[in-house]
Symmetry: C2
Subunit: 246 residues, 2 copies
């Protein structure tokens, strides 16, 4: 049975996150509902590179599924476009080998986090960027980033609810730039822990506003305790930007 | 009692239009609710330059109201920013003379209409631009515009429900350009009839797709009958861009 890999984008605003939850509108459940329609009511399970939380967006999430249907990949794109709700789009469909796995075969992920820097909140950006109009010390934030980049135990920078045991992760790239009234953070790594990007952003904002000294980051990493890092930045500024495979 | 003029912007997605309607969330009702809070429960009536329909956005709507409160205009901006929901923002507050009227004193309005031209619908644009991926004959559309610009009886280009009797209006400027995957129509005139901009856009798309010949526009104007013009383009692509006063 052919296996299909899809690159999908979604506006997370009206979803209770990616993963199926009873009584909630989720990306996975909308997707599986459409696949069931295409397969005469048969259940087709979808596997993603990972979950995204409520309000979090995706520009390049990757999923896979198996299907006995064999029409050309461009027809899959058209069928999805016709059947999916307008807040999810399938950008690309490829046939992959039977052993491909959207979650286990990722070699890395890129996340971006958008902060709106305008004095007044732009109503058109309210669901797409975190409004933070206060002044920020960019030099201090850059110094803090220098302590975070690389391989560390990120226990202090993930939700206390994180279930994985090994919390050592490698941040390969981490930076930010300001354009058109937005500060955009970029994170590239092999993998990220639960809420890790949002806690990193929240902590960097506290560094930028002088609540945390840049050098304190070293101590926060050492503590291995979530309570020492900054607040979790809101979900609606976060985008799963790209998922990498070999 | 001082009279205040405000320039406001709103994302029309979650509103049933500008004007108060029983049991519906509207821009006017949200605004008047906030003003009532500021005035210890007293009703303060708000007057806008005109209504906008359900789903229609505003970048520069103008309203006025009277209030005994006399704090500086920048404090009004801050108070509105704190109290209004995040899909409405007050950009500017000015004290105006007692005879100022947001509706009767307008000298013109600018509307813009956004059409998304990407092949697949961008989920992030679903409420902010009308997705129309089909090919368009821009030369034919420009010719059609040449027959619409100027002073005409626009009976064929307004909703059959329009209540005003004199349907002669002047379109001072009307054009479109393509940038970043959007086709943006721009309309400037002293005043527009109910649904006029959306019917003009819908008709131009039918000209662009070959369903209506450019020269047929002259006949459609002459008919003075709504049924001869094109479809009404959806509200979510439309923006009240600017309101002009002397």
């Amino acid at each position: 049975m052919p296996k299909y890999k899809c690159v999908i984008a979604y506006d997370g605003t009206d979803f209770a996150g990616y993963q199926v939850q009873p009584e909630k509108r989720t990306i996975q459940s909308e997707f599986e509902e459409v696949l069931a329609k295409m397969h005469k009511g048969e259940i087709v399970k979808v596997t993603a590179s990972g979950r995204t939380d409520s309000g979090v967006h995706a520009k390049g999430q990757v999923i896979h599924f198996e299907s006995p249907l064999t029409f050309p990949t461009e027809n899959w794109v058209k069928a999805f476009s016709a059947l999916l709700p307008s807040d999810i789009v399938v950008l690309e469909v490829d046939i992959v080998s039977a052993d491909f796995h959207a979650r286990f075969h990722t070699t890395g992920k890129e996340y971006r986090y958008f902060i709106a820097r305008s004095k007044l909140q732009d109503p058109f950006q309210r669901n797409y960027a975190y409004h933070y109009p206060y002044s920020l010390d960019e030099k201090a934030m850059k110094e803090a980033i220098s302590y975070l980049i690389g391989t560390h135990d990120f226990t202090s920078f993930c939700s206390a609810k994180t279930e994985v045991i090994d919390k050592v992760r490698t941040i390969q790239e981490m930076d930010f730039n300001e354009t058109d009234g937005f500060m955009v953070f970029r994170f590239v790594g092999e993998g990220f822990l639960y809420n890790m990007v949002r806690i990193l952003v929240g902590t960097l904002l506290e560094v930028g506003s002088g609540k945390i000294a840049p050098r304190d980051i070293i101590g926060i990493l050492d503590k291995k305790d979530r309570s020492f890092a900054g607040k979790t930045a809101p979900g609606h500024g976060l985008y799963l930007w790209k998922v990498f495979y070999k």
